[in-house]
């Protein structure tokens, strides 16, 4: 069933919707002409597809401030990329640092290895304003820490973490810093080499404005990740040993060619509109929303104050109302799509005191308007008054 009613879509932290028409059109156009298995055959079309994919690796590498396009690895999403990264780095007796702000895509793989007794896991706390204190990070990152893996921005609070400072600490101590840039890629500049970041994990379908099913890793030349999945790569097929050569080392099986073309189109769309312009428009609306919600009696906003930089996410609750019910009312009565619950980041809610039911998250995208914010504020005021 396809719904034709207009909704105010505010779940862009889950996936941006709608996608720019230009992105979808370009993806279909390129896939219609080059949708073959890239680099797997000696026929021209396969070689052309491989060349195009390599161009996109260069585009992605440049976008994230990486150094080597052959170390751009495509995956299905950020969770897939993070699992490839974490499982390919973990060794017995490793000590790993992450944070209580992180998403389950980081916490669950780490928790699994911690529970198995393979690693020791140290989770950095965050303050009442949703930020990790660099001084606290300096204490948590010990001489025997094997790597640090951290979200760049909280998917619950939108708070952007001081990764440049944490990167300096890691660089001084020779410890790799791995960054989950799911919520920041396409909004804030990411300079992995400049910041001393050894790897970034990204997804294509959020603020990079591509389709679902595409994400990836960009690895710094100093970081080696073991393959944990094996198969056909189009290289060294005579050998039963999986190739050690990047990017195929971490890309067994046919890659998501249509998704890669869509990702490239998303990056080009962002570049043509200007990332700063898109971000600044989203942020302006998000500020209005945050301040407006803060002024409604009976609405609690987390955190109450904003810090720059920030990604356009606002978490809130209405006193005495189940967040799932609040989300249902917003949807059914007002046509507003917002995400209720724990947002796959249970420790954030535990520390905010919003567990186990969580809150309602409004997350903005490039196509939201001033009218959307007016309507949300009016709806929230009416709902709050009804209590």
């Amino acid at each position: 069933m396809v719904s034709s009613r207009r909704i105010i879509y505010l779940d862009n932290a889950a996936t941006t919707f709608p996608k720019p028409r230009e992105v979808l059109e370009e993806m279909v156009e390129v896939y219609s002409n080059l949708g073959v298995s890239p680099g797997r055959g000696s026929y021209d079309l396969s070689m052309e597809a491989e060349e195009r994919v390599m161009d996109i690796r260069r585009q992605v590498c440049q976008f994230f401030g990486g150094r080597d396009p052959e170390r751009v690895i495509f995956s299905y999403n950020a969770t897939d990329a993070l699992n490839t990264l974490i499982q390919g780095l973990i060794r017995p007796d490793f000590r790993v640092v992450s944070s209580r702000l992180d998403h389950n895509s980081v916490l669950r793989p780490l928790h699994y290895f911690s529970r198995q007794g393979v690693i020791r896991l140290d989770l950095m706390p965050f303050g009442s304003e949703g930020l990790i204190d660099p001084m606290g990070a300096s204490e948590a990152i010990r001489p025997d820490t094997s790597f640090v893996i951290l979200t760049h921005a909280s998917n619950v609070l939108g708070t952007v973490q001081p990764v440049e400072r944490i990167g300096e600490i890691c660089r001084e101590r020779g410890i790799p810093l791995l960054l989950d840039v799911t919520q920041t890629a396409g909004r804030l500049p990411i300079r992995m080499e400049e910041w001393g970041v050894s790897a970034v994990a990204f997804t294509g379908h959020k603020s990079l404005l591509g389709p679902t099913g595409i994400g990836g890793l960009v690895l710094s030349p100093g970081l080696d990740v073991e393959a944990t999945r094996f198969g056909g790569t189009g290289r060294d097929s005579l050998s039963l040993d999986h190739t050690q050569v990047y990017p195929q080392r971490l890309e067994p099986g046919t890659i998501n060619v249509a998704g890669i073309f869509g990702l490239s189109a998303g990056l080009r769309y962002i570049s043509s509109r200007g990332m700063e312009n898109i971000y600044s428009k989203e942020l302006g609306l998000a500020r209005r929303l945050h301040n407006g919600l803060n002024s409604i009696k009976g609405v609690r906003v987390y955190p109450a104050t904003l810090h720059d930089p920030w990604v356009p996410i606002t978490l809130c609750n209405v006193d005495g109302m189940d967040p799932e019910d609040l989300s249902s009312i917003l949807d059914g009565d007002f046509g507003i799509a917002a995400r209720a619950g724990l947002h796959c980041a249970p420790l954030v809610h535990e520390d905010l005191g919003t567990s186990p039911k969580g809150g309602v998250r409004f997350s903005l995208g490039p196509f939201n308007t001033d009218e959307d914010i007016d309507q949300v504020l009016e709806a929230m005021a009416r709902i709050s008054r009804s209590r």
Partner: protein, 120 residues
């Protein structure tokens, strides 16, 4: 009276338990939702409403509960938010206020339908 059951690990993980409600054994999940919508009866709904602090189910309550059940059995799934509003003529905001526990833990649970387990 309440007892746990010896069923599959998946159902145990969801906290399955059996209770006696108005003389009948009914299986619930850990959040108090009916496991089998066919075990529901108006008497069971009244008893569960009273447990939740709602002494009398009025006309508006029954309109909602009957709509939720009829839609479920006709379509094989629970109605969407906007379909509830269209089908009952009652806004979700009013519905939330009508049931102790609100929409999900009040209305949907008392209607005896399976737990709408969204990813939270």
């Amino acid at each position: 009276m309440e007892r746990t059951t010896q069923t599959s690990p998946a159902r145990q993980e969801l906290g399955e338990r059996v209770r006696q409600i108005v003389g009948r054994e009914i299986t619930f999940d850990g959040e108090g939702f009916f496991w089998d919508p066919h075990q529901w009866s108006e008497e069971a709904a009244k008893a569960l409403a009273e447990e939740a602090g709602l002494k009398d189910l009025g006309e508006a309550h029954w309109t909602i509960l009957r709509f939720l059940r009829e839609y479920y059995f006709q379509n094989g799934r629970s109605p969407l938010n906007r379909q509830i509003k269209e089908g009952t003529g009652i806004s979700l905001m009013e519905m939330e206020a009508l049931f102790p526990g609100g929409i999900k833990y009040g209305a949907r649970r008392l209607a005896g339908l399976p737990n709408p387990r969204n990813c939270i």
